[in-house]
Symmetry: C2
């Protein structure tokens, strides 16, 4: 343990205030996918910027251009960048996080208001949209900054920050900014960065910390089927017209088998089977089918074999159908023939799959299958967003430092995992800065990111804050760059 | 023409006020299928009751019991009953209508606020939820009452009224009331009724009035598939678990072919093919495939053959998929695996199909198909509501009177039609009162009942008011019961 006691004690002593900080952040419904909430995303950006500045970080708010959404043209939320420390003898670590969140409504099945942090002291769980994804981790960094700033402690590394407000909507605008900024070299916000740390994923389970060195990519589609000029009464028109929902359901039914085999031709091209060594990695993880089912809240694993299930979530592609836009989605019995329906589905990708190639294969397949339907409805395929899959070198000092910090704080060796979700910006940093990127999760596998009753355990928040700080000290220690 | 000029002139002279009356009714969002709007349905009931009383009708508000909906127990909206006239020498006509409406949101694609009547003077169209289904016709009866009451004109028949507020939600509670009231005979609200008139359907097209002597029945289902304990992140769980949406889409895809052939075994049992005489009726109707496609707003007819298309909407069963509850239905790209999804679909039934028998066949088929999926998700089938199909004697004096009145007002012979929609109460009246029931539509085939931008043409409203009044005079004339 190289992190000073002064830092660790401050975190412990100020945990109540740190929880209040998270509550303040959760209370801003910064939903990037909902145009009507765009002002809240801007509000959240300004809030994060002000917090950083309180603790001595020089910041800027970077406009990222315009977004065309739902027939409107909106300003994209800005990226908030920051820098603190310019000691050439220290390592420079770039921190990424996102302050936007997924949609959430009480009517989806939340037990409490999703935008009011609910701390259940009995279970130690803090419920709220963004508690774990990804406001908790951002607050963790702010807590680390506060602990050093308030006590006049020097930071062990130089820090750079890049916090965005469009992660849940494809990080629109950010890639261009990162690429342009990277080209500026030393004069840019990311000049001299030695490694990147992203805290935006989860432990495999609820007991063993994890370091993550791989991510699946994403290709998200909307099949839009149109027919009538407006919604029709099924009594008046049912039977006499081709119905868009009927065509959509037929197409959605041709994407994937019940147990998850994707039916789009060529989609598995180039993906190798796991060899014995790789299988051993999965067998070693502190994870079981029971863990997966506990996190999912149901006996619904596609297999009872541990490695099969772990590979299904980490290293194999998948396809999920998310829902239908434009059809009747309320309670009760509406006898409508919806006029325009959009079927949303996405694929999770693994190396060597590339979103553009997958997109071409999906579109070709859907056009062929649509033609077979012989409906007089029309089809349009929208490609909503995509991200490339990624795997990093987990022997790098960046991972070593995080491993030692984890062992110090949690008294446990971390699982080395690949993650099923996509964080496309990971790849953008890796490619544009040419440095190692570490995924250092704060939350647990049962946090319910994107789900109802999303939560962060208070111990993960407070220990996690210590972990983030300790990681910075271990970076300095392991690279011999202590001030 | 036997209706007095004094009546017809009054309607013409007061048309602006009659439009205001409709606007007032549309402004009350009496959505029976939405528990949060239940108070508005009660408000609408009280409004209708008060209007009837203004014009000398004795009324009562009949409580219909409780409804279990969305985990709540709500009071059902009352039926508003009324009586005016007790002359034993006159015929007694029972009028039915419903003052509840389908859900409507601007976000569904309305051009104007659905609960603010928008009168486009250029096209003569009055837009608003309930304008044609079924507030317009109820206002028509109120207009007829006002014209007689204000001018001291005696009504040519005795009238009884039964207006309900749950038609769009299966007329819950009404059947029991009608049955109980019918049993009371002369002492009940429906004592001495000679015939029933219901104005709650539409012309086939936009130019020729219609009288309707048949209705399809309904059987409405919700296939509920459950799996995870809560919504899951598709990145974290995609591929590793059985997904409810995947199972639901597979089942919905097994219900009906693209061109409308229902795939549920036994569903067509007992339905005879149309013979040459019956085909001739359809060939004679003032209706074309172009009319259907104009009303639907798209070139989506299942056939280019007139009789085939007419039979598809009038005399053959159909199956429509309405939407999915519990899945992602918003705009944008949410990467969720929904935990509980409900697929809503319904069948339109024709004689001799019976809802209970169809329900058994649907449930058997779905259980068989679900078992084949081999998913670990679970399925539950909810039967949301049903109605029996119906055909009446269209040679009865009730229809003759309406035919002559139509020819007087519109200078055109009406189409004799069967209708695709269900109005289960039609059958309830026919069975419990043992009298002829007439469906006398006010609106046109392109009104968009249940759809976005529902409208009623002002000419149909004003001429329709004259038609309703004239029909009463023709009843007295043709049955020789003039006062």
């Amino acid at each position: 343990m190289v992190a000073p006691k002064q830092f660790l004690d401050y975190v412990e002593a100020n945990s109540t205030r740190f929880i209040d900080r998270l509550a303040e952040a959760v209370a801003i419904p910064s939903i990037s996918g909902d145009a009507s909430r765009r002002n809240d995303v801007f509000k959240m950006a300004a809030w994060v910027k002000a917090e950083l500045e309180k603790f001595g970080v020089k910041t800027d708010s970077i406009p990222l251009g315009k977004q065309h959404i739902e027939g409107q043209v909106l300003d994209l939320p800005p990226a908030i960048v920051g820098r603190i420390g310019d000691d050439p003898k220290k390592k420079t670590i770039l921190i990424y996080g996102h302050f936007d969140v997924q949609p959430a409504n009480v009517s989806d099945g939340w037990n409490t208001d999703p935008f009011k942090l609910h701390f259940d002291k009995e279970t130690g769980k803090m419920f709220g949209r963004g508690s774990t994804d990804d406001k908790g981790p951002i607050m963790g960094w702010l807590n680390v900054l506060e602990a050093h700033h308030k006590q006049g402690l020097p930071l062990p590394v130089n820090l750079r920050f890049c916090f965005e407000g469009m992660e849940e909507s494809g990080s629109e605008g950010l890639d261009d900014f990162i690429a342009a900024e990277a080209k500026k070299g030393a004069s840019g916000w990311f000049g001299g960065v030695d490694a990147v740390c992203i805290s935006d994923n989860y432990w495999l389970n609820d007991r063993t910390p994890a370091l993550t060195y791989g991510l699946r990519g994403l290709a998200y589609f909307n099949i839009v089927i149109s027919g009538p000029g407006a919604d029709l009464h099924s009594g008046i028109f049912g039977g006499a017209v081709f119905e868009p929902m009927n065509a959509l359901v037929a197409l959605l039914g041709k994407l994937v088998t019940q147990d998850g085999r994707i039916l789009i031709p060529g989609v598995y091209d180039g993906i190798s089977a796991a060899d014995a060594d790789e299988l051993q990695i999965y067998e070693n993880l502190d994870y079981s089918v029971a863990d997966l089912e506990a996190a999912a809240g149901g006996h619904i694993a596609v297999s009872q074999d541990k490695a099969t299930v772990i590979m299904a979530r980490m290293r194999n592609p998948s396809l999920s159908i998310h829902g239908i836009e434009g059809a009747f989605s309320g309670v009760g019995a509406k006898t409508v023939i919806p006029a325009n329906v959009g079927g949303k589905f996405s694929l999770r990708l693994v190396p060597p799959q590339q979103p553009d190639d997958i997109r071409a294969k999906v579109e070709k397949y859907l056009h062929e299958e649509f033609a077979k339907l012989n409906t007089r409805c029309s089809m349009k395929i929208e490609y909503l967003h995509g991200g490339i899959p990624w795997v990093a070198d987990h022997k790098h000092w960046n991972y070593e430092a995080a491993k030692i910090a984890t062992e110090s704080v949690y008294r446990k060796s971390p699982d080395f995992t690949r993650e099923g979700g996509s964080i496309p910006v990971t790849l953008t940093f890796a490619e544009n800065l040419g440095v190692n990127v570490l995924l250092l999760p704060m939350g647990r596998g049962d946090d319910g990111a994107h789900s109802t009753n999303e939560k962060l355990d208070v111990s993960n928040y407070i220990q996690g804050t210590k972990l983030l700080g300790s990681y910075l000290y271990e970076v300095a220690e392991i690279t011999g760059t202590k001030a």
